[in-house]
Symmetry: C2
Subunit: 144 residues, 2 copies
């Protein structure tokens, strides 16, 4: 009847539940904090960060398909996310000269500034939730 997991399976399940809990806590708190203080979602921040890393200094910009594998989003979700960032004035979309199907996404001044402002809070949330402590219950805000 196989009602029980083998020890190996039980270990996997425990690992998975721990991962789920950490993910939920962290992403929930990131969304809340970044959202209410900087108007950014977790994924928006992640995309800004990739853009900073990918073209720091140079203003070249990244292809959408270079962004896609690093943030874990479908192509359509990423397209719309970039649309939101563009509307917010944080990035620009420009046609790619060497392949005119492609889109170059680049940070604006404002985007770079916003990222720099948000980063300390992002790191603070990570240090709060990722240190192996007794889970601080998702909603707890960060003290000013």
């Amino acid at each position: 009847m196989a009602e029980l997991d083998s020890p190996a399976e039980a270990g996997l399940v425990a690992q998975w539940r721990d991962l789920l809990a950490r993910h939920a806590q962290t992403s929930c708190l990131l969304d809340r904090e970044l959202g209410e203080k900087f108007g950014l979602g977790m994924s928006e921040f992640e995309v800004l960060e990739r853009l900073v890393e990918g073209c720091d200094g140079t203003g070249h910009g990244l292809r959408v398909q270079e962004l896609a594998p690093t943030v874990h989003l479908s192509q359509s979700a990423l397209s719309r996310l970039i649309g939101r960032l563009e509307k917010a004035g944080l990035v620009t979309r420009a046609m790619c000269v060497e392949d005119r199907r492609g889109i170059k996404v680049a940070l604006t001044e404002e985007g770079h500034r916003r990222y720099n402002e948000a980063r300390p809070l992002h790191r603070e949330v990570l240090s709060l939730t990722l240190a192996d402590d007794p889970e601080p219950a998702c909603g707890s805000p960060i003290a000013d």
Copy 2:
């Protein structure tokens, strides 16, 4: 100008990205596999599993608020998820006698059966994606 992370922060970021990647791979594959082979989402399966653990043998059922902390969903999302499971005939909702605001959720025979059928695949996915291997690119199906 603080453009760089401290080593501690860099470690946190790396840890967070690893967690994000594992979560994306695993939940994506779980949803795909459980969905197409058993008509269950990842969270649906998680709820069934809690119900099995919480009232195995006894047919008592669990309060919604007992379920809520273990699956990482908002109260409203959990309410609707239970609605879907109920409509699919996998659980029953019954008024709670000792507090008539509450709802007792219990597995049906069919729910128990479906869980037992789905569990091996669930464990298989975990063993595929959680073992620290070179990430098998989210979409890769499980061989029959």
